[in-house]
């Protein structure tokens, strides 16, 4: 049915065809994102950015995507200085935003905020992360990165490494990879294992999922090594954080037995999970991944606002 006018709150909102449309659009948008072509596809459109939780990359890439295609943005970036601080409900804030702009991008500390905003708004809402919940545009750019490197998603063997419990990017990504028939290998400290409901969802999709203790072996057989950050802010207890933070690290030694085409991905920002020595290796794909956030969001915004991404 196409993406025009639709909300994108959870990766579940998108069919396989929708995702393929975004990935196709992303490839077309790369020259505009690089600045080698100048776009006016979104001229006259105004995107409202409501970031009620800190974010650098996501906010900047939505702004960049909009402006590279001739559109404009208006934003709430500091909730402490806005009506949110005065106790205004998200519902009311969203009603106001939807009256001003053509679409809304929302980041919020509470799970389910995107869904509530979509109900309050009569303009399309894109969820840019709600608490530990969904972050569908991150998933789309992750898929775009794998698609660019391998030309397909089906049959890829993807190792998900690190915080699989709190890392919101991983849950949406695992679902999408399941939809596309990729094979998932889970590697995490036991206290940060993938939540049961996400596992059940993958089983329901018929995805092939295995768990490993031996990271070396898993890396040797992988096409993609997807590394996540252990987020300090998700731990109540500092000593618990310290215990798991040092428990895995990607470096040259780990990658020495990998397939030549293996790519290492990370949603960034990283802390100590990937050694700087990996940056220069042909395996490092995380900066390309960060760049692809812009053309992916260009494609998504164009499809939602105009119905096409060309």
């Amino acid at each position: 049915m196409g993406l025009k006018g639709r909300d994108v709150i959870s990766i579940r909102d998108l069919s396989r065809e929708d995702i393929e449309e975004v990935l196709k659009g992303t490839r077309r948008m790369i020259p505009y994102a690089e600045g080698s072509k100048v776009g006016q596809q979104l001229a006259g459109k105004l995107l409202m950015l409501a970031f009620l939780e800190p974010s650098t990359r996501t906010r900047l890439s939505f702004e960049t995507a909009m402006q590279r295609l001739g559109g404009r943005t208006a934003s709430i970036t500091d909730p402490a200085a806005s009506s949110v601080k005065k106790g205004e409900s998200l519902y009311d804030t969203t009603r106001m935003l939807s009256a001003y702009g053509d679409a809304i991008v929302l980041r919020h500390p509470n799970e389910g905020a995107g869904r509530l905003a979509a109900q309050a708004s009569d303009k399309p809402v894109i969820n840019a992360g709600d608490g530990a919940g969904q972050h569908p545009s991150q998933t789309l750019l992750d898929l775009a990165t794998m698609q660019e490197a391998f030309g397909t998603l089906t049959g890829l063997r993807v190792v998900l490494l690190g915080d699989l419990r709190y890392g919101r990017t991983v849950h949406s990504l695992a679902h999408a990879l399941g939809v596309f028939g990729a094979e998932l290998v889970l590697a995490s400290p036991s206290s940060l294992a993938l939540p049961e409901d996400v596992r059940e969802d993958l089983d329901h999709l018929g995805a092939k999922v295995t768990e490993v203790d031996q990271l070396h072996q898993a890396v040797r057989e992988a096409d993609v090594l997807y590394v996540t950050r252990i987020q300090r802010e998700r731990f109540a207890d500092e000593s618990e954080y310290a215990k798991v933070a040092g428990s895995y690290r990607v470096d040259s030694a780990l990658l020495s037995g990998a397939k030549p085409r293996l790519i290492v991905m990370h949603p960034l920002p990283r802390t100590t999970e990937i050694a700087p020595e990996v940056d220069g290796s042909p395996h490092a794909a995380y900066f390309r991944q960060a760049f692809l956030g812009v053309p992916t969001r260009m494609a998504l915004l164009s499809l939602i606002l105009t119905g096409k991404a060309v």
Binding site: S10, S89, L90, Y91, N110, E111, G112, E196, E200
Partner: protein, 152 residues
């Protein structure tokens, strides 16, 4: 069936075939405090049942259940039957049926869910699985199987 030592009601609702021990949850859903002061409420616990082995029964005078309450009962007591009594006769009898979507009956157990913040919104769940029943929060997508602990 052996006659029960409870007087028949003239007008009201009989909820039969409630799973053993679940009648008090059903009473909570009905909202006994909201009833007409002159209504009699009868609760029969632990009765022999051919279908279930043991069952509970609830009879409430002068009350017919709203669709929302029927949905809530379907969630707690999926085996229940509901009979509407008028002038001492059963006028309508139906088996409860769990709908696709449950609104306002269960609170989301995720404290960080937007439905547990100060927002003008009711909790809402999709039925993710039916046997046994598992609900998925329509907002935060959390799966809930222990919903008896989280009745609104």
């Amino acid at each position: 069936m052996r006659e029960l030592k409870i007087t028949p009601i003239k007008n009201g609702t009989v909820i039969d075939h409630i799973g053993n021990g679940l009648s008090l949850e059903v009473l909570r859903i009905i909202g006994v405090n909201d009833l007409d002061k002159d209504s009699t409420v009868s609760v029969v616990l632990h009765v022999r049942s051919q279908k279930l082995g043991w069952k509970d029964i609830v009879k409430v005078e002068n009350m017919e259940l709203s669709p929302r309450k029927v949905n809530a009962i379907a969630l707690i007591a999926p085996t229940a039957t509901i009979s509407i009594i008028r002038e001492f006769k059963v006028r309508e009898k139906r088996v409860v049926d769990l709908p696709e979507r449950i609104v306002g009956v269960v609170r989301c157990p995720n404290p960080s869910c937007i439905t547990n913040q100060r927002e003008p919104v009711e909790s809402e769940f999709d039925v993710a699985r039916r046997r046994p029943v598992v609900l998925r929060c329509a907002y935060c997508e959390r799966l809930v199987d222990d919903f008896l602990l989280h009745l609104a």
